[in-house]
Symmetry: C2
DNA sequence: AGGAGATGTCGAAGCGCTTCGACAATCACT
DNA sequence: AGTGATTGTCGAAGCGCTTCGACATCTCCT
């Protein structure tokens, strides 16, 4: 193990000088800097993370809390996680992976031990039990908040009360509205929504409920009839749901699908029933572009910008850690890409 | 920030006593222990991770290196990652998430800085460039390996040369063999393999090549004809591949699918062509059970035991860190579950 | 030419913890 | 009663780094 002191000796300078070369916090003459850098390279020196964390009170680690459950769409989570990790690295941070399992205790543990400098939470519920620990930088109300002594956090997702929090999320309400708008614009009057699994709604996950709000309010505005049915993923569940939908609203010509694992089953079933997409029935999906493109019909879709969300979350967090920028909510505007699964409502349908 | 010293003062003991209560490395009288524990609770003390790492030369962090690319089946990665994280926690470790992006440098950085005590690598290639840094606990050949001073690692995946390495993987060769065996046993003489995307083979990812080996050698043994075609996921690619297969081998009645994103497209296409599953054509998939169950036909499949792999990897690593157990290769035996997608080959087909 | 201000370097303190050796106090035997 | 082992606690050193104030040098202005 090579230490700072050894580098200093090798370069013929003091330890503090080496430290300043590394951190750049004081000016160092070009010649000295070169000599030190040379020694670092020659000896293969790597600063000890623990010592650094102890002395500087900064670990350069961001904690990322991901949900344990797998009823959410996994590829999106993964994409966010990877975006977080790579973006963090570009800012000199590493990422600690926490699962939701420990719940609020994980927040306390990480905060208390100084293991991480900051936190990103995914899959936030509307009334999340972790939130009280995070508001206003994690400093309990009434405590003196010395600068740099708090634990900034960013949520990916939007709780009911965003006071004192920083959040990044897709604007799900607008997403819902956009889907209805698109179908309504094509003349569809009867739209069915294939929602997430019932468990997702029961948990009061913000995105699911907000999407529904958006769908409904725009449906009201455009005079469209909306039928919302939660649906577990998979073929069998989709078959049951679809049958019910056509029972209740035989005239349904538009579909909005939020549960990605229902997309392909839906298309297969429609085909099987002799309903052509998009001639007889139009389908809009809310899913990553990759899914939309790979499906058996190229899907008109609103993309879930997973990478963007991860990236933005980290950038906000880093800004906070650097003392720039405070709380606030970032809602990414949805974008609808028209592909081959939607078309004008026909009289025949 | 509550420190050890404050706890000691509050409990009326010395700092070292508190430390020993925490670590259990020396015996402490019951009364003292209680008093200390009481103080810890009362003050809400959390040991500082940096200080601990510095003093003990142990960070209690395991680094997990996941691939950046998304051409591998993502849910499997995610499941492994989550299993690693939760298992690690039960052993008192946290998990640091590294992406493949930095490559071998990440290994050096983490090893050199003492950020992590150990490492788990996923998506290992047959001749992975990170391997030289890991052999024999990460200690360069010739160096004196003091106990506890090295960086144990476990690979999830199997490189060509496993000397001085610890590996956990599904036995892909046996998996391939098992698939052919099952189909051959049902009387199928012409089997097509829908492989991973070409890029996966080009990268010399062990699992893809080994599966193929297993498939081929068992095909030879059972006198079955095998046609292997790599396939990007998605509907269009699958359509092209399938057409080619039936062109070249019109008598094909058995399919083995390794690329999960080709499963549903394959089923849809077969249906479309009027080939019934399992009456006309049998399909065996290599995929997580969840996928097999949710598909439009309940698939006979060999499961990918993602959780098991993650768990085993951590357990091996912890054993190494505790000085128990050394290197070695763990190959999990594949298990085939018969569902509704395979049946006897009929004369008609 | 002389002093004010930059500029570059150093020594030392200290971050919060672990761990080693020392030392009382207690206990179990002759 | 005296010895040796055992048990429980403490003080101090030190892990490798950052950072503050001090100091020596150099630069530039009047």
């Amino acid at each position: 193990m090579v230490t700072l002191a050894e580098v200093a000796q090798h370069a013929g300078v003091s330890a503090s000088t080496v430290s300043y070369v590394l951190s750049g916090k004081r000016s160092i003459s070009a010649t000295t800097r070169q000599r030190v850098e040379e020694s670092i390279r020659e000896l293969g020196y790597h600063p000890n993370a623990g010592a650094r964390a102890l002395a500087s009170n900064r670990s350069n680690i961001i904690a990322l809390m991901i949900p344990l459950r797998t009823d959410m769409y996994v590829p999106v989570m993964m994409e966010i996680a990877i975006a977080v990790a790579t973006t963090a690295r570009t800012h000199g941070y590493d990422v600690l992976l926490l699962t939701g399992e420990e719940g609020p205790d994980a927040v306390r543990r990480v905060t208390g031990s100084g293991l991480a400098d900051a936190m990103i939470l995914m899959d936030v519920e509307l009334e999340d039990e972790r939130l009280p620990l995070l508001r206003d930088g994690g400093v309990p109300a009434g405590a003196q908040s010395r600068a740099g002594d708090d634990q900034p956090s960013v949520l990916i997702g939007l709780p009911a009360d965003t006071d004192g929090l920083t959040c990044v999320d897709l604007d799900w309400t607008a997403t819902g509205a956009l889907c209805v708008e698109h179908l309504a614009g094509l003349g569809h009057r009867d739209i069915a929504v294939i929602g997430e699994a019932p468990a997702v709604y029961e948990r009061h996950t913000g995105f699911a409920e907000r999407t529904l709000d958006g769908l409904r309010s725009r449906a009201r505005e455009t005079g469209v009839r909306l039928l919302h049915r939660p649906c577990e993923g998979g073929y069998d569940a989709m078959a049951v749901t679809l049958a019910r939908i056509f029972d209740e609203r035989p005239g349904t010509t538009g579909f909005v699908v939020q549960n990605e694992s229902a997309v392909e089953p839906l298309l297969a079933l429609l085909r099987q029933q002799g309903r052509a997409v998009p001639e007889d029935v139009s389908v809009v999906a809310i899913c990553p572009d990759q899914v939309a493109v790979q499906a058996s019909v190229r899907l008109t879709s609103v993309a879930i910008p997973a990478q963007e969300m991860g990236r933005r979350a980290v950038e906000h967090l880093v800004a906070k850690l650097d003392g720039r920028g405070g709380d606030g909510v970032v809602l990414l505007p949805p974008e609808l890409t028209e592909r081959a699964s939607t078309g004008p409502a026909t009289a025949a349908s």
